[in-house]
């Protein structure tokens, strides 16, 4: 495949087709819509340069998910200084755009507690419960052992158990 010919169409088609998947993943990691967009755009812009090679491996999803994860874990750039826990502040929205989940989010204590977790723990929860990846694969993605993944999971769940929501769930109630 030559970059000049097939690459742009292929890349564009991928972004159009799979961009939302990446945005969801990034949103769950960051808890911030703008941050998620920024992160995904950055990863895709960097991936464009090597798209031919990425495509040859037939696993662009895996590659880009890894890229988003790395970018999230090592987010040290301009936006990082403005990144804040959604547990502390209301979510931001574009002017004029309605967010129907906002009233619900205000009450979503589990979600807000999730946002206060350390990045590694939060990433482990997202990879395990949203992406349904096994611990070994999560460990490879995060560059740690599966035992560490389990440790992160355990700690994260222990933290979540301290919420009123979790106490209700554990007591047999509903959310």
């Amino acid at each position: 495949m030559t970059r000049g010919a097939a690459l742009p169409d292929s890349f564009d088609a991928y972004v159009v087709g799979r961009g939302r998947m990446l945005l969801r993943f990034a949103y769950l990691l960051t808890g911030d819509r703008y941050l998620a967009e920024d992160l995904v755009q950055d990863v895709l812009a960097r991936a464009h340069r090597h798209w031919a090679r990425i495509e040859r491996l037939h696993q662009p999803d895996s590659y880009l998910r890894k890229g988003v994860l790395n970018q999230y874990l090592s987010w040290r750039r301009r936006r990082s200084s403005t990144e804040q826990s959604v547990a502390d502040v209301p979510e931001h929205h574009r002017p004029g755009q309605l967010d129907h989940a906002a009233p619900f989010a205000e009450r979503d204590e589990l979600w807000r507690t999730l946002a206060t977790l350390p990045r590694q723990q939060r990433a482990v929860l997202v990879l395990r419960y949203y992406e349904d990846l096994p611990d070994e694969e999560i460990g490879e993605l995060l560059g740690c052992s599966s035992a560490t993944v389990r440790s992160h999971t355990s700690r994260a769940l222990a933290r979540l158990r301290t919420t009123e929501f979790a106490k209700n769930v554990l007591a047999g109630g509903t959310s």
């Binding site: 950055d42 812009a45 929860l125 993605l141």
Partner: protein, 441 residues
């Protein structure tokens, strides 16, 4: 536990629906990609600029060090020619070396001993023509410094080291670089006289380990070519004003050679040549030091006795009672066709003076204070024509040279460029590692 995990999974799936819908993502990605490309180009440009900033000045500095010997006479009018009215005293801790902190052109070269330098230690001092700069030559012994010669333009010093390797060393006072010229087969090399343009240097060279076996070497400082002639050089060698001929001191006569070392003629003399500037600027006379029991008489001898320029002026007489009992005056050069510059020892201080060939009162240019015991002295002959002397309030003993800051800047830029490149390389290596680690699916 199971219930909580189920709820976490459900909540994440529910919240995932609130993620941005991705409209406009493609346009945003391409905008960012173009910005990224621009940024990469800027970073690459900066890295290349940094490398060039490191390489070019270093290269220039190195090339300047390799080609530091300049031969251009006449000396530009912008070159200062000023000596201090009085040589400043030796600083506590001593001077910096001219090789480490080049002073620029020098007007005087003084081999001396000084009480502050220790009872037996002597140094060889150059005094800059900015009348402020003082440095020592990078040679150890005062007795050897006596043999050092300052070039006519004050930019170079032929080091009078007691070399045992047959190598002539030329120190450039503007850069601190030392150039080495293999001149003789073995033993010492004694500089005897610069040509007026500073390109040629006549040396006395040992041809064997024996003290007596010496020869005349005429060194082209531009090319390193050496012409060796079997002429024993006891004293000074003076080049003619046009640099084409050499006058070699032969005690009772003066031997005249062309620049290639071929014999041209001889002139009877009443005494040894007065120094490497003994040939008068108009080319008509040699100044010879006619030693008398009660003092020194500096006499002009016709350079071409077949076509005598006329009756020479009366000798300049220096009576011994006027001076130190053991040291006589030293001729330094010509201030004009009729004015001579001497170093004259005194009872306490010694002086650099100007005297007319027709006699009359002397003019003191510079005073060398008493603690300095002058053992040898030379001056930049071409600069003497317009040198003046002024009071200098703040002597300079050697700040960092410009080349030091240029090199420092270059090294800094190089280090910055290296760090940038290393960071970039590391970033790429990390990206590669992550890419490999990413394909786990």
């Amino acid at each position: 536990m199971i219930d909580l995990e189920t709820h976490v999974r459900a909540r994440l799936e529910a919240r995932a629906l609130d993620a941005p819908d991705g409209s406009g993502l493609l346009t945003a990605v391409h905008v960012r990609r173009r910005r990224l490309v621009r940024r990469r180009r800027i970073v690459a440009g900066l890295a290349v600029s940094g490398m060039l900033a490191a390489i070019v000045p270093v290269g220039l500095a190195l090339s300047d060090r390799d080609d530091t010997v300049r031969y251009a006479a006449p000396i530009p009018a912008s070159v200062p020619a000023s000596l201090p009215e009085r040589i400043a005293d030796r600083p506590v801790g001593g001077y910096r070396s001219a090789a480490e902190a080049p002073p620029g052109r020098a007007g005087l070269l003084v081999a001396y001993s000084h009480p502050a330098a220790g009872p037996t230690k002597g140094e060889s001092l150059v005094v800059g023509v900015d009348r402020r700069s003082y440095r020592v030559l990078p040679i150890a012994e005062t007795s050897n410094a006596y043999n050092s010669l300052l070039s006519p333009d004050g930019a170079q010093v032929a080091l009078g080291e007691e070399a045992t390797d047959g190598v002539l060393r030329i120190l450039d006072l503007r850069s601190g670089a030392v150039r080495r010229y293999p001149v003789g087969p073995t033993g010492w090399v004694r500089p005897a006289g610069f040509s007026p343009d500073g390109r040629w240097l006549a040396c006395s060279v040992a041809m064997s380990q024996a003290e007596s076996g010496d020869a005349l070497a005429i060194v082209d400082l531009r090319t390193g070519a050496v012409a060796l002639r079997g002429v024993s050089v006891g004293g000074a060698v003076a080049f003619s004003p046009d640099g084409e001929r050499l006058a070699v001191d032969r005690s009772d006569s003066i031997l005249i050679l062309d620049r290639g070392g071929s014999y041209v003629g001889g002139v009877p003399s009443v005494g040894p040549l007065a120094g490497d500037d003994a040939w008068s600027p108009d080319g008509k006379w040699f100044l010879v030091d006619h030693l008398k029991p009660d003092g020194d008489e500096y006499t002009l001898v016709a350079a071409d006795f077949h076509n005598s320029p006329g009756q020479p002026p009366a000798p300049l007489v220096f009576k011994r009672p006027e001076m130190d009992a053991t040291a006589g005056p030293t001729f330094l050069g010509w201030r004009s066709d009729t004015e001579l510059v001497f170093h004259e020892p005194g009872v306490s201080d010694s002086t650099i003076t100007v005297r007319s060939v027709r006699g009359g009162p002397r003019t003191v240019l510079t005073t060398i204070p008493g603690p300095f015991e002058v053992e040898g002295i030379d001056a930049a002959g071409a600069l003497l024509r317009r040198v003046d002397s002024r009071q200098a309030h703040e002597p300079g003993y050697g700040s960092r040279p410009t080349s030091y800051w240029v090199l420092l800047l270059a090294v800094g830029a190089g280090a910055a460029a290296s760090v940038a490149l290393a960071a970039r390389t590391w970033q790429r290596a990390r990206s590669r590692h992550r890419r490999r680690a990413g394909y786990v699916g």
